[in-house]
């Protein structure tokens, strides 16, 4: 692995992220709307379960949503790079495809984690009490989940050549991934087919792991879907698989 190449791929993404502040604000608008408007609305219908109101229940899901959107958006900028030619500059360099994929995945990880941490910092407004350990653990899970989803985004990006496919990715990948992730309702409550699909979704495990950390007292109908360890193992293994497939797909030549 070429560390210089990984570093510079990440630095490029980070520089652009810092330069376009408006991108950060519009990216944060989505989770805020869901948390304080959709969440607040639905919470009127859903009774408090073992001391956890609905707005707190969806908080891990909203963190997951923040990561989902920003990681996938970051990774599918590869399609943009392909369309505008910059990808060739990277591909023709003496850099292994593995390094390129790791660099891209880490780019998404940093950008996503920053956004997730900003949303996480809102916990006091939801009446949550988190200690330093909980916060640190939540951040670590956010980092792992961001990496995993960014790597998935890279695999998705290798299937598309033009940015016109953006709405396809949005409507047929990102939105279903969000709705079938246990973010808004426990996976257990879904019909069997949807439960099955949800269990194939790495985001589901990430969100479940965050629930374990920041909602330790949750129980009853809102309870966890998996054990903490299962979730962690799934996130880590799928990350490795996605990076592997991403690198393979990058190696493909016509």
């Amino acid at each position: 692995m070429e560390l210089n190449a990984v570093y510079v791929i990440v630095a490029r993404e980070f520089k652009k992220f810092v330069r376009e502040k408006s991108r950060l604000f519009s990216a944060l608008a989505r989770p805020l709307l869901w948390l304080f408007i959709v969440g607040a609305g639905i919470s009127r219908l859903v009774p408090v379960e073992s001391g956890v109101p609905y707005t707190q229940f969806i908080f891990p899901g909203i963190l997951g949503m923040t990561i989902l959107f920003s990681s996938i958006f970051s990774s599918i900028s590869i399609i943009w790079d392909k369309e505008f030619g910059f990808m060739k500059e990277i591909l023709v360099a003496p850099v292994s495809r593995f390094s390129i994929v790791v660099g891209k995945a880490l780019s998404g990880t940093i950008v996503s984690t920053i956004q997730a941490v900003i949303i996480l910092a809102l916990f006091p407004f939801l009446g949550l009490k988190l200690n330093v350990i909980q916060i640190s653990e939540a951040i670590i899970i956010c980092i792992a989940l961001s990496f995993c989803i960014s790597a998935l985004g890279i695999v998705i990006a290798t299937f598309y050549e033009s940015y016109e496919s953006f709405s396809v990715i949005m409507n047929f990948i990102i939105m279903p991934m969000f709705f079938l992730s246990g973010a808004m309702y426990p996976v257990r409550m879904l019909p069997p087919v949807l439960q099955f699909v949800s269990k194939l979704n790495p985001l589901t495990y990430g969100i479940d792991a965050i629930k374990h950390v920041i909602l330790p007292s949750i129980g009853g109908r809102m309870s966890y879907d998996f054990s903490f360890h299962t979730s962690l193992i799934v996130i880590i293994t799928t990350s490795v698989i996605f990076v592997f497939f991403g690198a393979k797909a990058f190696e493909r030549k016509d």
Binding site: E2, N4, A5, Y7, V8, A11, R12, K15, K16, R19, F84, G85, F86, M87, K88, E89, I90, L91, V92, A93, P94, V95, S96, K253, D254
Partner: protein, 331 residues
């Protein structure tokens, strides 16, 4: 001249690239010596970019071999990538970064030692006269500035071979001239072999060696001078007081075939310079004017394929057109 293998920067043997049923590159072979400028000339769709893509490891060949600096492009892509710099036909700059950032990005990708990055980036920026504007976003650059920046970028990692795919595409004549000015300096100043493609025939004059490609096949190769010999000499045209007399005289005494058009007499001579004194000597004061036209590479292409390299590309002047017509009639 004979050269050992070690002086060969690029070697291509029986290269074929097939896209489904399109034969983009059809069994081509050539060699490029170190430190020379090699021109790949051909019309749109001839297979120039396809060949470059294979040489720079972005595309795999259907069959045949390609070597850069002795490394097989298929077996040792990473060695090949280290040895080459490339300016693609379409821009590959990141327009949302500054010129400086684009260059630093490149330096890191190519693992240039950290202590040298600043020096090298600044020196190539000076080389293309963009140092003053290095901190502007590339999207604010003009087409010519972008092109120069790309050439500069291709030099940062000190490649042995620099590929230039239509480097002057879309530039105005002055920027084209400027760009050629420093491209021709590269082999000496940066110790690099240049492989360029173009379909502006006049630009290919700077090449040491040229291969003309059409429909995926190399139809001729050699130095510009050698290629022009294919045309069969210079075109000399004269006007006289008495065309009938002059014509008979030239045909009998100088054994040249003469064509008459618009009161002008055209003939092809091996050596225009020696032909003109002969003409004047034999025709005396009947000669009113003499014009000599060197064959252009366009004439070569025309002669070989029966079409100009870009049917939509107008020759520079009417007189060139005239000479082309003259050749066409003659051959």
């Amino acid at each position: 001249m004979s050269h050992s293998e070690s002086n060969i920067a690029i070697k291509v043997k029986n290269l074929v690239k097939r896209y489904n049923h399109i034969l983009a590159v059809n069994d081509i072979s050539f060699e490029v010596e170190e430190g020379t400028i090699f021109g790949f000339l051909g019309p749109n769709g001839a297979g120039k970019t396809t060949t470059i893509s294979i040489l720079c490891t972005l595309l795999s060949a259907t069959s045949g071999n390609a070597y850069i600096a002795g490394y097989d492009c298929t077996k040792y892509p990473s060695e090949v990538r280290k040895s080459i710099g490339i300016v693609f036909q379409d821009s590959t700059l990141d327009k949302d970064l500054t010129a400086y950032e684009n260059l630093v990005f490149h330096a890191y990708l190519y693992n240039v030692p950290k202590s040298e990055i600043k020096n090298r980036v600044e020196s190539v920026l000076h080389f293309v006269n963009l140092y003053e504007r290095k901190d502007e976003l590339v999207k604010k650059y003009s087409g010519g500035m972008k092109r120069k920046l790309e050439v500069a970028r291709g030099l940062i990692h000190k490649p042995q071979v620099l590929f230039l795919d239509e480097p002057t595409l879309g530039l105005d004549p002055q920027s084209r001239a400027n760009l050629w000015d420093f491209i021709t300096k590269l082999p000496k100043e940066h110790n690099v072999t240049i492989f360029m493609t173009t379909h502006y025939m006049d630009e290919a004059e700077v090449c040491d060696k040229i291969a003309i490609i059409d429909n995926g096949k190399i139809i001729a190769s050699g130095s510009p001078e050698e290629l022009k010999k294919i045309v069969g000499g210079d075109v000399v045209s004269i006007t006289t007081k008495d065309n009938l007399y002059a014509r008979k005289h030239i045909e009998n005494l100088l054994k040249l075939e003469v064509l008459e058009k618009n009161n002008e007499l055209y003939m092809t001579c091996n050596q225009g310079e020696t032909c003109i004194p002969d003409l004047i000597r034999s025709l005396g004061d009947k000669v009113l004017s003499v014009k000599i036209q060197r064959p252009t590479l366009n004439d070569v292409f025309l002669k070989l394929t029966g079409k100009t390299i870009r049917e939509d590309y107008a020759p520079e002047s009417n007189s060139t057109k005239e000479s082309i017509r003259a050749y066409r009639r003659k051959h």
